[in-house]
């Protein structure tokens, strides 16, 4: 298991970067919601701060130092709910507050999840029984001293790309197709909302299929010798399992019969 760190993670610069980024995201989110929701805008900020603040609890108060794993999900849902309740979204325009809310939320989510990985568990608990004992492996954290100074900068870059891609994807969903002549858009006889859902499902579905297919090709290209042998063995078994089963059972029956005969003779 990973050795416990001698120093408090809060004293390490990597953790501080993420704390700063996470709190900054929450402040921007608060400002974005403040305009529309007034005092209620503080709710997601408080929940998010509660998730981040567990890292600020001193090591001596270990009882209070528990991860709030559902804080990011709750912040995301409440933010989306508040923005939807108060939204006056223009069909074609991109509003500044909405544009600010998305990167702020991503900054908070990214920081919070990375802090979870640094403080509590980077990999899930493995409950499979081991030869050395029945309990499996407890969850292990990522050593905080391994966070480089470039990591938060990379995260900011990724956030910018994702916000841009999210906006582009939304515009793509809103895109109306006019095939022959100006008039009613072509929606296969559907209203606007079902049409958007259908386009979303198709976009996500086709995108997932393409990506999974590409990675499957990459996997077969980078496959190890044992994995390739396993595919060969498994394919042969799948295609001829009926015949193999009959033959194997006959051989086993024959062996048992000859053994019994031998036992009777002796």
């Amino acid at each position: 298991m990973t050795e416990p760190e001698a120093e408090d993670p809060i004293e390490l610069p990597g953790v501080n970067y993420y704390l700063f980024l996470g709190f900054s995201g929450l402040v921007v989110l608060f400002l974005a919601l403040m305009e529309r929701m007034g005092t209620f805008a503080v709710v997601p900020g408080l929940i998010g701060a509660l998730g981040l603040a567990t890292f600020l609890v001193p090591r001596q108060l270990g009882v209070l130092r528990k991860p709030v794993y559902f804080a990011p999900i709750i912040v995301l849902l409440i933010t989306a709910l508040f923005l939807s309740l108060s939204s006056s979204f223009s069909r074609r325009s991109v509003q500044l507050m909405d544009v600010l809310a998305a990167p702020a939320l991503l900054a908070y989510l990214g920081s919070q999840y990375r802090l979870f990985a640094l403080g509590w568990s980077a990999v899930p608990a493995d409950q499979r029984p081991r030869l050395s004992g029945p309990g499996g492996d407890p969850p292990e954290a990522r050593p905080p001293h391994q966070v480089s100074t470039r990591e938060p900068l990379h995260l900011i870059g990724v956030i910018a790309i994702c916000v841009l891609a999210g906006q582009v994807l939304w515009q793509w969903l809103l895109l109306e197709w006019v095939i022959v002549e100006p008039g009613e858009p072509q929606r296969l006889g559907m209203n606007q909302s079902p049409w958007h859902v259908t386009r979303l499902v198709w976009t996500v579905g086709v995108g997932a299929m393409v990506l999974v297919g590409l990675f499957r090709v990459l996997r077969s290209y980078r496959m190890s010798r044992d994995e390739a042998a396993m595919i060969g063995v498994d394919t042969l078994w799948t295609e001829t399992r009926g015949e193999q089963r009959r033959l194997a059972r006959w051989i086993a029956w024959r062996r048992r019969k000859s053994e019994r005969k031998l036992e009777k003779q002796t």
């Binding site: 990973t2 559902f70 999900i73 995301l76 933010t79 989306a80 923005l83 939807s84 939204s87 006056s88 979204f89 909405d98 809310a101 998305a102 939320l105 989510l109 990214g110 999840y113 990375r114 979870f116 990985a117 980077a122 990999v123 899930p124 493995d126 029984p129 081991r130 030869l131 292990e140 990522r142 050593p143 990724v158 790309i161 999210g166 939304w170 969903l173 909302s193 958007h196 859902v197 979303l200 499902v201 996500v204 995108g207 990506l211 990675f215 990459l218 980078r222 190890s224 044992d226 042998a229 396993m230 063995v233 498994d234 042969l236 078994w237 799948t238 399992r241 193999q244 089963r245 086993a252």
Partner: protein, 595 residues
């Protein structure tokens, strides 16, 4: 691949995107944008993680180095401490995701210092290194399987486990003993020959006078005894004693009977420890030591020698037999499957992947295993259809098929082997036994058959031992010491071939000693430590008393049988047999003096 954290975020993002798309644009636009942005982020991280993983893992390399205080070593010694350094590097330009690294500690090795795990991001030119110290508990090959890697993205959304299999075996030789401490210091005679020599009362080229005789043509002039010739008035020549080295040949039992028990703590380990100590002490005295290892089928002979190279070869041979697995002819598949499955999950996780190693859930329902291929229970008789619907049966069948496929690939078996192992318990259990023994995992073996007959008496080894002893006698030159280190307690009525061979050895003026391994938790025959009679009902205590009595009776019978031949029988519980053998060698050395 996706962790629960990743699933929750992905599902929430999809929900928000779908909700936003389903609502009118003015109401749900913002929620949809947030959902889509988070979705894009998750997909982006997934692509990055998976691409780095697929591309980078085949490029990983492991370097393993074992060192002692003086530098790198290729051979280990039991009881000594070594440093293991594992370096994981990559030649790929692409950085791998963060990984938790765990080196799998071999069986029979104790972690002394440091940890077998590490963490880091492996990239080109920046290997991750783990260092720890181990101590070998017993002799035998030490097998390092490889390194377990658990990859995760920085957020903990994705997870992948891999095992870099780079199996490498190091021989762990028996412990180095203080050879000088085992040498006898008490002075028996004022005319002790030099180390490694004993005097044989036959004419030779030694330094002590044996006899005087008449001169014969061809005798060298320097052998003429001039004073005696002058007295007798004819030429008399001196005959000198023969100086020959002391030779000891150890016949070490490596049969199934002595392999029973935990590796490193069974009868074989005790015999090896004795043989190793005797060899080192005798070679320290410049005596010749040979070794014969035998089991139920064959024997291997190493002629006596006294070079350092011979000692290393002898210890290596002892190390090879040190971890020989016990193999039952009809192992129990039900007890081996959980062990083998746990091992396969650790070492072969890629081959157990359900995408490669498939299973159809409906097979046990449509084609259940027939009654003649499985052990029947009362439930089978009452509810014959129960097995078709039992979840346990489904799981067991899936595990059987997956393990059979792994065994087929690992052992390179022909295609039909998978189905044969899947259907027939005997084939599967024998393959599992070999699989576990290859990976040095201890496993249970049935000791009695259904009639209650003990399965590990190994009566065949008596013939093999007798043949090996006769071979050694045939190759022997003069008075030698033959040490039979064998478990013969279960064979008290079947030792006639061995007695004949011992008579031949004694007839040629050799000496024979029988060393029998003794279980550490059973009191010695002369110790009178038999536990008091237990109150009625304590079955286990009664069974133990019966076992001790049976053990003692077998020892007495063995001692009686060999006592008629003047062959001493010694229990190998402690280190006393070593001293006894060295005493016998000492007697051989001074035999020529005590006329």
């Amino acid at each position: 691949m996706l962790t629960s954290r990743g699933w929750w975020l992905l599902l929430t993002a999809l929900f928000l995107a779908a909700l936003g798309a389903a609502l009118p644009v003015a109401r749900g636009g913002t929620a949809a944008i947030l959902g889509l942005t988070v979705l894009v982020w998750v997909v982006f991280e997934w692509c990055r993680f998976l691409f780095a993983l697929r591309w980078g893992v085949p490029e990983l390399h492991i370097e393993r180095e074992l060192r002692d205080d003086r530098g790198p070593v290729v051979t280990l010694w039991s009881g000594r401490t070594f440093t293991v350094i594992v370096r994981i590097s990559t030649t790929s330009r692409l950085s791998l995701p963060f990984a938790l690294i765990d080196d799998r500690l071999p069986f029979g090795v104790k972690l002394v210092d440091g940890g077998t795990n590490g963490a880091g991001q492996v990239s080109r030119g920046k290997p991750v290194e783990i260092s720890y110290r181990i101590r070998c508990r017993s002799s035998g090959p030490v097998r390092f399987e490889g390194v377990r890697l658990r990859f995760a993205d920085p957020q903990g959304f994705f997870f992948h486990e891999a095992f870099l299999r780079r199996a490498v075996e190091y021989p762990a030789l028996p412990p180095l003993v203080d050879a000088e401490a085992n040498q006898r210091h008490t002075k028996h005679d004022n005319m002790l020959p030099p180390p490694g020599i004993h005097r044989l009362r036959r004419a030779g080229s030694g330094s002590e006078l044996l006899d005087l005789r008449d001169y014969q043509p061809g005798d060298p002039p320097r052998m003429i005894a001039w004073k005696a010739s002058a007295r007798k008035d004819k030429l008399i020549v001196k005959e000198l004693e023969n100086d020959v080295p002391v030779r000891c040949t150890m016949l070490v039992d490596a049969s199934q009977a002595v392999r029973l028990g935990p590796p490193g703590n069974n009868a074989l380990a005790r015999l090896i420890e004795i043989a190793s100590s005797v060899a080192q002490a005798a070679l320290g005295n410049r005596d010749h030591v040979g070794l014969i290892t035998f089991d139920e089928e064959s024997s291997a002979y190493m002629p006596p020698s006294r070079s350092k190279r011979h000692l290393v070869d002898l210890l290596r041979r002892l190390s090879e037999i040190g971890r020989l697995p016990v193999a039952a002819s009809r192992p129990d598949a039900e007890s081996l499957i959980p062990l083998a499955h746990a091992l396969a999950q650790e070492v072969y996780p890629d081959l157990l992947d359900s995408r490669l190693n498939t299973w159809r859930w409906w097979l046990p329902i449509l084609f259940p295993r027939p009654e003649y291929l499985r052990s029947l229970t009362l439930g089978d008789a009452v509810f014959p259809w129960w097995r078709r619907l039992s979840l346990t049966e489904w799981r067991q069948q899936a595990v059987r098929k997956r393990l059979a496929a792994v065994l087929t690939v690992v052992n390179g078996l022909p295609p039909g082997a998978l189905a044969l192992m899947h259907e027939d318990d005997l084939h599967l259990s024998i393959a599992l036994q070999e699989f576990l023994s290859m990976h040095q995992v201890p496993y249970p073996v049935p000791m009695y058959d259904w009639r209650g007959k003990y399965l590990f008496a190994s009566p065949e080894k008596v013939e093999v031992l007798a043949a090996a002893l006769l071979t050694a006698v045939r190759r022997g030159r003069d008075n030698e010491l033959f040490v039979l280190a064998a478990d013969l307690f279960e064979l008290t009525g079947r030792m006639e071939p061995l007695r004949r061979a011992v008579r031949v050895a004694l007839g040629r003026h050799h000496r024979v000693v029988l060393i029998c391994p003794w279980s550490p938790d059973i009191p010695l025959p002369d110790s009178e430590e038999l536990e008091p009679a237990s109150p009625m009902g304590d079955v286990m205590a009664e069974a133990r008393r019966a076992l001790i009595r049976r053990y003692h009776r077998a020892f007495q019978e063995t001692r009686r049988e060999f006592g008629r031949l003047a062959v001493p029988v010694v229990c190998a519980k402690h280190r006393e047999p070593v001293q006894l053998i060295l005493d016998r060698m000492e007697q051989l050395r001074v035999a020529g003096i005590r006329r």
